[in-house]
């Protein structure tokens, strides 16, 4: 493979960067994951406030975006073990509020590393995490934290996230492939964040997002979700609360 085939680019390198990036998100996530209200409300802040923390990998041979990375800086002066249960949703709001209020940031958080399905299994995830760390390094941060989505947990929706993150391979690395990518690069598990994303929708919305029917109230397993969702037919509301895992990379 041509070693220069994949090139890191920033949002200013391509006029249609955001359109192309959206296509990667749509191709990499189950539909319901695109309906987190915090993400929908705050996504533009990545480009309005934190543009230097966004990047992508361009396949120069095909002129296609193969992967994208999103992160942001925030302020945190407590112990990392105190990072909140709110995980992904929390850190997005926190970074935006800090920036609005002029609070100086001292730590970086990953928001997303998405590899287009056509480019998975080619070692891009490691390159993407390295590129993200390099941004934190250039800013002089000590830590890159990440509310990591352990994607293989979707096969184990009845196992608690606390138990799941203790599972190891024969090599002693995390069982989950995404946690393992981070661990191989020196990332350490801090703890689960049990409410990293909260996604609500009506009965009809959930049916459209999942292709599943919800004729009665109760818990349902849906494809690609890490936990069951709770459907309340009388209130016409289904709620999915996604658990993630706080991990930390020591940058320097």
């Amino acid at each position: 493979m041509n070693p220069n085939r994949f090139q890191l680019i920033t949002p200013n390198d391509l006029a249609d960067y955001r359109d192309r990036a959206n296509k990667i998100a749509e191709a990499s996530w189950p539909e319901f994951m695109l309906h987190d209200p915090i993400a929908d409300e705050y996504w533009h802040e990545l480009f309005d406030r934190f543009i230097e923390y966004q990047f992508a990998m361009l396949d120069t041979e095909m002129n296609r975006m193969a992967a994208m990375g999103n992160s942001l800086p925030f302020h945190w002066d407590q112990d990392l073990s105190e990072l909140p249960e709110g995980g992904w949703d929390w850190v997005f709001v926190k970074a935006t509020e800090d920036h609005k209020n002029g609070v100086a940031s001292n730590i970086q958080s990953a928001i997303q590393v998405a590899i287009h399905p056509d480019y998975q299994g080619q070692g891009l995830s490691t390159k993407m995490v390295q590129a993200m760390r390099a941004i934190g390094e250039s800013k002089g941060f000590r830590y890159l934290v990440a509310p990591v989505r352990p994607s293989e947990k979707s096969k184990y929706p009845l196992t608690s996230i606390d138990d799941y993150i203790a599972w190891k391979t024969d090599e002693g690395l995390p069982f989950d492939a995404w946690l393992r990518v981070h661990a191989r690069m020196g990332g350490k598990i801090i703890k689960p964040c049990h409410e990293a994303m909260t996604i609500r929708g009506t009965h009809t919305e959930w049916e459209a997002w999942t292709g599943i029917k919800f004729p009665q109230s109760g818990r349902y397993v849906i494809p690609g979700a890490l936990n069951p969702i709770e459907m309340e037919v009388d209130q016409d509301e289904g709620v999915y609360i996604e658990p993630n895992v706080w991990m930390v990379h020591e940058i320097r």
């Binding site: 096969k155 009845l158 599972w167 109760g218 349902y220 397993v221």
Partner: protein
């Protein structure tokens, strides 16, 4: 169905029946379903004791079998509402026992209707059920009873079978596609049989059957199972207890 193209064959009418149907069960079911103890011990009895009750649809164009139906006669003197929880496993053992003891049967019970995956969409399921019902009539048996596997329940493993059975589509027919095929042909739901098949295996066996890992004891969702399995790593045993639905076709 093209009645010229597809012909009903049975072991007595086709000397090579056994060879023609070989492998059909294997492609039709998830691997773990092939490890039901009762099925493995008794399967040969179908051809040894009940050859006239085994039938297949032979595709005369491609000279291969497209579908198969397996059934047997048994004796049941109580009301159908009291048919046992043991469903499939019970019926198979009962039929063999009745035959051994020379009891004359009064009911016809089907234990499998499979359509080869290459023939899905050819609308063979209704003609197959019709063919099985024709046997009920030809043998002068009272009715056809079936412990039906509602295969779409695998998308709803956390819903109880009793609730799932009540789900309807907009036409007022059963939500589940297999239950609906039977209902359209006049089949009526009697009730759930909660322990229709019991499948036991060691942890290593379940890992091989499902390509999952079971690092700790607990309930697991496995692909294509109708309810979760229970894994006990200390006893090195996983148990799957499959619920089915007793249905009856009256033949008059």
């Amino acid at each position: 169905m093209d009645t010229d193209r597809f012909q009903v064959i049975t072991p007595p009418t086709r000397a090579d029946y056994r060879d023609l149907v070989r492998g059909l069960t294997k492609v039709a079911w998830p691997e773990f379903m092939l490890h039901d103890q009762v099925a493995n011990v008794l399967w040969h009895e179908l051809l040894d004791r009940f050859p006239e009750y085994q039938l297949a649809l032979y595709d005369t164009e491609n000279k291969r079998v497209a579908a198969m139906g397996n059934s047997f006669p048994l004796r049941w003197e109580d009301t159908l509402y009291n048919l046992p929880e043991g469903g499939w496993d019970w019926a198979f053992e009962e039929a063999v026992k009745d035959h051994e003891q020379g009891l004359s049967p009064n009911y016809h019970c089907a234990i499998q209707v499979v359509i080869h995956s290459d023939y899905r969409g050819h609308r063979l399921s209704a003609p197959m059920i019709e063919a099985v019902r024709a046997v009920t009539k030809a043998k002068g048996l009272q009715a056809l009873i079936i412990p039906v596997r509602p295969s779409e329940k695998s998308k709803y493993p956390l819903i109880s079978m009793a609730d799932y059975l009540t789900w309807k589509n907009e036409e007022g027919l059963p939500f589940d596609a297999w239950l609906r095929v039977h209902a359209r042909l006049g089949g009526k739901i009697i009730k759930t049989c909660h322990e229709s098949k019991t499948i036991r295996g060691t942890r290593a066996e379940w890992e091989a059957w499902t390509r999952m890992k079971f690092p700790q004891s607990g309930e697991y969702i496995i692909p294509d199972a109708l309810v979760p399995i229970e894994m006990d790593v200390v006893k090195d045993e996983g148990i799957y207890v499959e619920p089915n639905v007793w249905m009856v076709h009256e033949v008059g």
